[in-house]
């Protein structure tokens, strides 16, 4: 098939460019600080592009357009929440975190609370979080590739794993920074260019074939459409529709014509084929807005939807700042105020990206309404170009969006892998460059094996739970560590154990149980509303209990984290620990008090 080859070509091109840029960017990586934090020399605009490139995973590239496509105005809060996480990061974390001089999250824990036990706990959480996130990345990469090119699912995941491993082994953070910055612009182009073209196609189109979005009716099929239901769906019918069906509906086998009455809900089983005549109103999955009026109007679901939105804002605002692969990029800034500038740029880049997703969402509602029937809203970005332009140019645009989607998998996976490898190499191994490379290979081996062995783990849900785990462990640690003097190692440990424990327990429950309805279940499936406050509270409470063990150097650490950069209190712990062979000390006598301790410890080791 023609389209498959085009899309496959786009994906292979994205992969080849990624490796090429990675090799180019990593050619100067020599020392451990290069591999861990890119020598802390990344300028704000490049760093912001890298952060945005890493953050805009497939969940953003495909998911945001899909969410707005199905949920309409209510779905607008999702991209808002995803971007808002960076505002919270800017306000509460960015500059102090960089000024702490730490190079990983566990290192921050030790720098702030001088506890080796807490450091080890944080190491375990980073590795767990990283793998938890990597498995669904590999899985959905495979699934996406197999859906649109016919390549077997395991091959896509394996290709992503191998590509990112090559890049990270070759150049560490230095290589990955350039790769991710490049991938941000690739993704932006892959979304913005088709969005522009398709918007003009829409303006020049004969509007009579399509039902306008402002009509208070469900979307309609413009021509006779055959829909193959690949996973079982529940459809809400808001306008009566006559169709032909072959397969099984509501548990009974059907073959031939059928009329669905308005206001009914139909359960369509896997493998059923539905044929809708031209002009038929589109029945949609029960999670989507049924007609265009409720699509355009926010909160058409009433108060339960308000709760859902609040829960979402809660999770994204606190979850983003706990993600180790996002945090690790903040250590690459030269100093605290450039960390702030970086975050501001990220907000611009991420926000600008989501605007194009909205164009895709609106056009998909007009041109690919059949996705409302199958519930595959994530495919909207990939299918829209060829649905609107049935010629070689449409195929080319489709190949471009496929390449962008693949870049999304690659950049997020490489960020996760760098953060896992950085922590493993410095906390489990001695932290030489060789150890970093070893840790990278080990760090990618475990999740790819998991992804290949358990292909049926719920990918979408596991990402939400991982975000929740980040929000209930690292977020309280960072916020209280930066702003609260009374934090003790015991309090921090108990907080992480409480928050993490609640999330892990609810995950086990979700995996074990089969029922998916009721508010208890929905709370358990999204435990952030409970686990995050609980973690904050227990961190505070147990710190109060153990107030005697407040670290002795807390005043000094607070000064270092909050004092302006030009006073020069920041001590880069990676340089102290691993040295920086790329910059030989020119004149040792010039090394004065701020770096004296680091220099002395380095001498001692020699």
């Amino acid at each position: 098939m023609v389209q498959n080859n085009w899309a496959l070509g786009g994906v292979i091109l994205a992969m080849a460019l990624t490796i090429g840029v990675g090799v180019y960017g990593g050619r100067r990586s020599k020392t451990t600080p290069d591999f861990l934090v890119a020598g802390r020399t990344i300028k704000p605009h490049a760093n912001a592009a890298a952060i945005a490139g890493e953050y805009l995973s497939a969940a953003s590239f495909l998911g945001v357009a899909g969410l707005v496509f199905t949920k309409g105005a209510t779905g607008l809060w999702y991209p808002f929440g995803y971007a808002g996480g960076y505002l919270a990061l800017l306000l509460f974390v960015a500059a102090p975190l960089r000024r702490s001089g730490a190079y990983t999250v566990p290192d921050f824990a030790e720098a702030r609370l001088s506890s080796l036990g807490l450091r080890r706990l944080c190491t375990a959480v980073v590795v767990l979080l990283g793998w938890w996130y990597l498995v669904p990345q590999f899985q959905s990469a495979g699934l996406t590739l197999s859906t649109f090119t016919g390549v077997p699912a395991w091959l896509g995941g394996l290709a992503v794993a191998i590509t990112v491993t090559i890049n990270v082994v070759g150049g560490g953070m230095r290589a990955i920074t350039l790769v991710q910055a490049f991938q941000y612009y690739l993704k932006l182009f892959a979304l913005a260019f088709p969005a522009f073209v398709l918007f003009f196609v829409f303006l020049g189109d004969n509007r009579a074939d399509y039902r306008s979005l402002s009509e208070p009716l469900p979307p309609a099929f413009a021509r006779e459409t055959t829909v193959d239901v690949k996973t079982a769906v529940r459809l809400q019918v808001s306008q009566p529709v006559s169709l032909k069906a072959r397969g099984s509906i509501d548990g009974a086998p059907v073959d031939g014509g059928a009329i669905w009455a308005a206001g009914t809900v139909k359960s369509v089983d896997k493998g059923t084929q539905l044929i809708f005549p031209a002009g038929a109103p589109v029945p949609s999955v029960t999670t989507a807005a049924a007609d265009n009026a409720s699509w355009l109007r926010p909160m058409s679901g009433g108060w339960p939807q308000v709760l859902e939105i609040w829960s979402l804002m809660f999770a994204t605002f606190f979850g983003t700042m706990g993600l180790p692969h996002v945090l690790v990029r903040f250590y690459t800034n030269p100093d605290g105020s450039s960390a702030r500038t970086t975050t501001l740029y990220v907000l611009v880049l991420v926000g600008g990206f989501y605007l194009f997703s909205l164009i895709f969402a609106g056009l998909s509602r007009l041109y690919v309404p059949e996705l409302l029937v199958t519930g595959q809203d994530n495919a909207a970005v990939l299918l829209l170009p060829s649905a609107m332009l049935n010629n070689w140019f449409g195929q080319l645009l489709a190949a471009l969006t496929a390449a962008g989607a693949f870049a999304a998998f690659l950049s997020t996976s490489s960020g996760l892998l760098v953060s896992v490898a950085g922590v493993l190499s410095t906390d489990v191994l001695p932290g030489r460059v060789r150890d970093f490379r070893l840790a990278t290979i080990f760090g990618s081996l475990v999740p790819i094996v998991c992804a290949l062995l358990f292909p049926n783990l719920g990918a979408a849900q596991s990402v939400g739970l991982a975000l929740c785990l980040a929000a209930s462990t690292f977020c309280p640690l960072l916020i209280l560590g930066i702003w609260y003097r009374g934090l003790t190692p015991f309090g921090a440990t108990m907080g992480i154990l409480t928050g993490g424990g609640v999330v892990l327990a609810s995950t086990t429950y979700v995996l074990a149980t089969t029922s998916t309805s009721g508010w208890v279940n929905s709370l358990v499936a999204q435990p952030g509303m409970i686990s995050v406050p609980l973690s904050f509270l227990s961190m505070w409470f147990f710190s109060k209990l153990s107030y005697r063990s407040v670290p002795k150097d807390v005043a000094q650490v607070m000064l270092r984290m909050h004092a302006p950069d030009r006073l020069g209190f920041t001590k880069d712990r990676d340089v102290q620990q691993f040295g920086n062979k790329a910059q030989p000390p020119v004149d040792v006598s010039k090394r004065t008090s701020t770096t004296l301790t680091g220099w002395a410890s380095r001498r001692q080791r020699k």
């Binding site: 505002l87 030269p334 975050t343 909205l358 607070m558 020069g568 010039k590 701020t594």
Partner: protein
């Protein structure tokens, strides 16, 4: 400040560079961004890092004062800075969260607002889908300016205090 790197310290230019930076106050942020250069056989190019050195020179005494003994005055100045910064952060976070968590309530209670049209765009789409991003960037800019001002104030207080 772009610093002339690649100088050979054996020429005696290294110390000269040190003199040069003592005059300039700004540009501290930029100097660390220079690409490291490597000593090569024959043609020796050595990167001279100045930012840290200058900072270190300037704060020699404050560091000694604060790190050596706990001076209650210095301590209280730091505490005040932290409190001020946190206040700004909480106020701005509260503003954004309050607005955008409040909008859903408004749209449920007064559905007509959700159907208002401004510039041909439905109000919620304009507010949440479009204006939310420039708004957040503006809040971030306000924050950056406010905290930098606090930090400058702190630096003045601090150095003044130490030089007394």
């Amino acid at each position: 400040m772009s610093f002339p790197h690649g100088q050979d310290p054996l020429d005696g230019l290294g110390p000269g560079a040190q003199e040069h930076t003592r005059n300039g106050q700004d540009g501290h942020e930029d100097s660390a961004e220079d690409e490291p250069t490597y000593p090569l056989r024959g043609k020796r190019r050595v990167k001279v890092v100045l930012a840290e050195r200058r900072g270190a020179r300037r704060i020699l005494r404050p560091m000694a004062q604060l790190e050596g003994q706990d001076t209650p005055i210095a301590e209280s100045v730091v505490k005040e800075l932290v409190r001020r910064q946190l206040k700004i952060a909480i106020a701005l976070a509260g503003l954004v969260l309050g607005l955008y968590a409040g909008l859903p309530v408004l749209f449920v209670m007064v559905p007509e607002i959700g159907e208002a049209v401004i510039f041909g765009i439905r109000l919620p789409w304009l507010l949440v889908g479009g204006l939310a991003y420039p708004f957040m960037v503006a809040v971030g800019m306000v924050y950056n300016r406010a905290v930098e001002r606090n930090e400058a104030k702190f630096a003045n207080q601090y150095t003044g205090m130490v030089e007394d």
